[in-house]
Amino acid sequence: MTTRIQPDLIALEAAQLHDLKLDPKRATELAADVQRVCDAAAGVCQEADFNDEPSRFTSTLARLAVAKARE
């Protein structure tokens, strides 16, 4: 599989940042996995608002439950 994220980058990152060893085959597989996740995040970034923030998650759940109850 060809990915924009190169297996060499994954192998180097594993060795230099995390002190982990990877063989070339595994680095190729991980490159594909990481690419999939990065693509999904890039997709949602296009729709993000500047003022979004992760901590809104639990309050969003509470608000949506209450909103439905009031309908």
């Binding site: 982990l20 990877l22 996995d33 996740v37 995040a41 997709g43 923030e53 998650f57 759940l61």
Partner: protein, 469 residues
Amino acid sequence: MSEILSLSLTQIAAAIRAKKISSLEATRACFERMHEIQPKTNCYIAIEEEEALKAARAADRMRGKSARLGALHGVPLAHKDMYYRKGRISTGGSKILRDYRPDITATVVERMQRAGAVWLGNLNMAEFAANPTGHNDHFGHCRNPWNTDHITGGSSSGSGVAVAARACYGSLGSDTGGSVRLPAAANGVVGLKPTYGRISRHGIMPRSWSLDTVGPLTRTVRDCARMMKVIAGADANDSTCSTQKVPDYEQALTGKIRGLKIGVPLNHYYEEASEDVRGCMTASLDILKSLGARIVELEVPDPQRLFDLSNAVTQAESAAIHGRWMRERPQDYSMMMLARTEPGFHIPATVYLQALNARPRLSEEFIASVFRKVDVLHAPVMPMPVPTIEETTPREAGDVQPMIRRLTRNNRPANFLGIPALSMPAGFSANGLPVAFQLMGLPFSEALLFQVGDAYQRITDWHTRAPRI
């Protein structure tokens, strides 16, 4: 098998309270059953027979006093081996924590103790709650009581087995990406993944902080409602735990669902569904329709995207949790655990945060799109019949992610959205293994899910069937 074991959790609780059966009799019956099934299913990691029998005797003595009895008084339960009790071993299904004795007790454990439950032992689970099959290289694979060649589902593997095989009346599992619903489905029992924050996570082994939920596995919906009432609610020790009032879930079990709109997704959830799973889904919808529910087909916002984003969160958080041990002692992890966690070391922090940042908005969009049209969403838990252990044993690291994707594709979206999902037994596939549907709803709509599930169980008998093992 003792007749006592055919009673449900709420039935045995009532019988103990009314002094028709003693907690000691119920506890002994569970241990007898456990000793029968353990060699075949390997569902227990640790059995605490002496202490449980002592606790049962104490529970029986209390009945004679005027003390107010808890909702689980004298009821024998067993739990996934990741609920901390101060000073007691909690392995997390791992080699690394084989002798780990936490210095805190989980909030849910304290609540069950206050409700009078008896602790039978610690149940098998996937290593660090990180696989959906029930494989465990350190304590031995857990095996499905309907056919021991097949997987149990995971990661709460022992919970699904022990409840299905009548070796306990209920169990706590945990669900980060399907880990309650999959073993509930594969073993033919009820399992709830609650709303994120409905139940405290304090004192449970972490898998992925942002997605972890505690959930009960039981034989009936009413049993599940009982356990939920005991364990749900605010906890000062867990800042993500909601302060929303906990309803009386059993009061919601009216048997009536006339007029409710039940959604059936046209995209994603059926894409890899086998014919027999589709047949069971159709049959279950026909039953709900016969009770007066309206079935509404609809497109839902892309669950595959939610699946991928949930992977960004789980993998990054798991890599952060296990980073040190994975560097220092990788040989102590199974290949499955290493392969699942490795991508997390290469997900940029910005990508992880972008996934988390999108969560409130995507949840809002999904909920607005789906739950304005329907009250609950109905879908298969597992799109294929329960596979064998052999079929799901990875030969190399590259086999792990595709296998996990196939098994969990219908489960992870609800974890990312934070919404509740109830797994319900719905028949059997051609290979004789259970099939299940799940009901998903708005945040904090567990009472509604219980209402629908209970109405379904009033006119079906899937939940009364026990494996012959």
